[in-house]
């Protein structure tokens, strides 16, 4: 390049051409399509006790694959947004992903963002894919291919105050008992509530699903909306009344983050949420109910006790990853029988039947919680939200009557309107599922 100096800096035609060509070439150069031997295996994961636990064992897998493993943790919303942004750009800087099989997986598979693992899971005798419980195994497939492997399962638990409930007959066995106890124990003028639970339109849907199933309903019936049925309306009205008449103010703005502290601070008699969060109530630094909290199976409704039992978090491999073989080794290690047994013994429930059959893996849980988990797993349904591609939009529709119930509106009318909206949505969503 001939940058000439004189009265002013000038550039010859040839130098200008060389500079322009070099710039264009630099801009058009593609990144190498093979990973460097020094490149770490990158795991983009949910900020969850599972991720924190598995991180302690990383040296084992690092030795096995001969490269460093880098784990980055994000909250669920941040994780989904991060996947959307990065994978829309075909990013190669994620190898292993934690995904919510019931929330993201179908969309990710449609987009071609997750690797088909069918041959790997079925062709590996040591991995024992058939040992994975049926419901989580079924939920690992999308578009006819296995695209993830489950690592954490979840059911609802009824958390209750043993000291207060014993005056009204102990932990409620039916939903009617639960309503009765909640109304009996609430002293809202004094800031004490009979029941606390999620009330946000979208966030409450998964926990409300167990109420819906126990009233005999489901989100969809024969491919059409099920939220306008008498069973669904009864479940909406029941949950709405529970929060409206016995719950805290501002319930419609409450998700896990707002509801859980109310129970942990001893301000509510009962709370229904994921069993995975039980340790929050046993930690004296954040809970004032460590000695009084009890755990019970989900109470029975008209259709019995029918809670959800779902794979809440699974592992998948980014289709654009340059380290897919190493990523599979990670999945194989992190979700194999040995690691699941180890983590379940630390209090993180997995999806392997052989592990659940081993009482030693349940010893860490309080006995009444272990029993509640066992009963809920036995009665459980494998989904806690509509099984569609656009889960977020479906939850927004399904959650509308839920909010109507909490604020005391005409639930039947709102449910009828939401049901019609869900039917229209299902037609569009089914069309999108043809991939």
């Amino acid at each position: 390049m001939e940058l000439q100096t004189g009265r002013a800096l000038t550039l010859s035609r040839r130098s200008f051409g060389v500079l322009a060509a070099a710039s264009v070439l630099a801009a058009c150069t593609r990144a190498p399509r093979t990973a460097s031997p020094d490149a770490p295996l990158r795991v983009l994961a949910i900020n969850h006790v599972w991720t924190q636990a598995i991180s302690r064992y990383l040296p084992e897998i690092e030795e096995r694959i001969g490269r460093r493993v880098s784990v980055r943790m994000l909250t669920a919303d941040q994780l989904t947004s991060s996947f959307n942004v990065k994978l829309n750009a075909s990013a190669t800087d994620i190898d292993v992903m934690t995904v919510r099989p019931l929330q993201d997986q179908m969309m990710f598979a449609r987009n071609g963002w997750v690797t088909d693992l069918t041959d790997r899971v079925e062709g590996d005798a040591g991995y024992r894919w058939d040992d994975v419980q049926e419901a989580p195994r079924e939920r690992s497939a999308a578009g006819g291919a296995t695209v993830s492997v489950p690592v954490v399962t979840e059911r609802p638990a009824l958390y209750y105050r043993k000291d207060l409930l014993e005056d009204v007959g102990g932990a409620p066995r039916t939903l009617d008992d639960m309503m009765h106890a909640a109304l009996e124990l609430e002293r809202r003028d004094e800031g004490f509530f009979g029941f606390v639970g999620r009330g946000q339109r979208n966030g409450a849907v998964s926990q409300w699903s167990s109420f819906l199933y126990s009233f005999g309903g489901d989100f969809t019936v024969d491919g059409r909306s099920g939220i306008g049925t008498p069973e669904a309306i009864a479940a909406y009205e029941f949950y709405g009344r529970l929060l409206r008449d016995a719950g805290p103010p501002g319930a419609t703005n409450m998700s896990l983050e707002q509801a859980m502290p109310i129970f942990a601070q001893g301000k509510a008699a009962m709370y229904v949420d994921a069993d995975a969060i039980y340790s929050n109530f046993l930690d004296p630094t954040i809970s004032s109910v460590t000695d009084t909290v009890g755990f019970a199976p989900f109470p029975a409704g008209q259709a019995g006790s029918v809670p959800h039992n779902i794979p809440s978090w699974s592992l998948a491999i980014n289709e654009f990853s340059l380290l897919r073989d190493d990523a599979w080794e990670f999945l194989r290690w992190a979700s194999g029988p040995e690691m699941v047994a180890r983590l379940q013994a630390e209090g993180i429930p997995g999806a392997r039947q052989s592990v659940w059959d081993d009482p030693a893996t349940l010893a860490v849980f309080p006995p009444d919680l272990a029993e509640a988990m066992r009963v809920n797993a036995e009665n459980g349904v494998g989904h806690d939200r509509p099984e569609v591609m656009q889960v977020g939009r479906a939850r927004d529709i399904v959650g509308r009557p839920l909010v109507a119930g909490i604020v005391g509106q005409d639930v039947a009318a709102v449910a009828a309107d939401a049901s019609a909206e869900l039917d229209d949505f299902l037609v569009r969503d089914n069309r999108q599922q043809e991939f």
Partner: protein, 296 residues
């Protein structure tokens, strides 16, 4: 052909300008053009998957959506007009109070700046804690004066007004500073003449100060109005996706974000964003014209 000094010099100018031009092109022009392109497609799920052109279908869908789009437009207008009007009135009042020098003026001005320095997400979380219906300090204070506990951000009906008040709390100081800057440039003679003629303080303010301050007020309105129209972080931090359980605080920005990141409907989201941009441009043009007319 020999290269003249002018030609060579011109090339050097372009070579030096190129990085800045490329940056502007990549960071501003490309996203704008790509958003307009996406708004004309059925992009869904992934933009790196196949898409088809659908003409103006997304615009028709958005404009025909009375369930989410139009209510979001209404809330955007209510939030902006309500918050900016209050900020202007309070900002003007504070600017008039701070106009004359007094002891401790610097301290007062510094305190006024504090809300401006905090990030909207931090402010959102702070106010969520203050206004928490069960544990918040606001209901405790209201209890002392006999007011029953309020749900504030937990209520479907109180959320938008509460968010407007938080916005007023944060941005009134900026209006104060802008208007104060305008006030200090006004000549003192007209006001002095009005005082000699026996005009009251209110008459001097309405008939002398305000007409002279008109251009500054309109400029402040444009700046704050455009900013308020685009409010996202405060609403999202306090109300979450969809602006709350009954979409009670869902403005156009929050709606477009939800379409993009929760529903992955990139085509429709882009159409909403294009309409939103046109809406903002229209507001700016109207206010600018008024400013120019008043200046002339």
């Amino acid at each position: 052909m020999a290269t003249t000094f002018e030609q060579s010099s011109r090339r050097l100018k372009w070579a030096l300008l190129a990085p800045a031009l490329a940056f502007v092109g990549l960071m501003i022009a490309f996203p704008l053009v790509f958003t307009v392109y996406l708004s004309l497609t059925d992009a869904f799920g992934a933009v790196n998957a196949g898409t088809s052109l659908v003409g103006l279908q997304n615009f028709a869908d958005a404009l025909g959506d009375t369930r989410r789009f139009w209510p979001a437009v209404g809330r955007t207008v209510v939030f902006t007009v309500g918050a900016v009007a209050l900020e202007t009135v309070l900002g003007l009042a504070l600017a008039m109070l701070l106009r004359k020098p007094f002891r401790g003026m610097e301290v007062v001005r510094t305190i006024l700046m504090v809300p401006l320095l905090a990030t909207p997400v931090a402010i959102g979380i702070l106010w969520m804690l203050i206004l928490d219906p069960t544990n918040g300090v606001a209901n405790h204070l209201l209890g002392f004066v006999g007011v029953p506990p309020q749900e504030f951000l937990g209520s479907v009906s109180q959320s938008l007004p509460t968010l407007m008040l938080i916005d007023v709390w944060q941005w009134t100081p900026m209006m104060t500073l802008l208007l104060l800057a305008g006030l200090t440039t006004l000549p003192e003679e007209p006001e002095e003449a009005a005082r000699v003629d026996g005009a009251t303080a209110w008459q001097r303010f309405v008939h002398v100060v305000l007409p002279m301050l008109r251009t500054t007020v309109l400029t402040a309105l444009v700046l704050r109005g455009v900013d308020a129209l685009k409010t996202f972080d405060l609403i999202y931090a306090t109300k979450g996706p969809g602006g709350g359980s009954d979409f009670e605080a869902e403005t156009l920005n929050v709606y477009a974000y939800g379409l993009t990141f929760d529903y992955l409907e990139y085509g429709l989201a882009s159409a909403v964003l294009v309409l939103f941009t046109l809406f903002i441009v229209a507001v700016v043009v109207v206010l600018r014209r008024r400013t120019e007319r008043s200046a002339s």
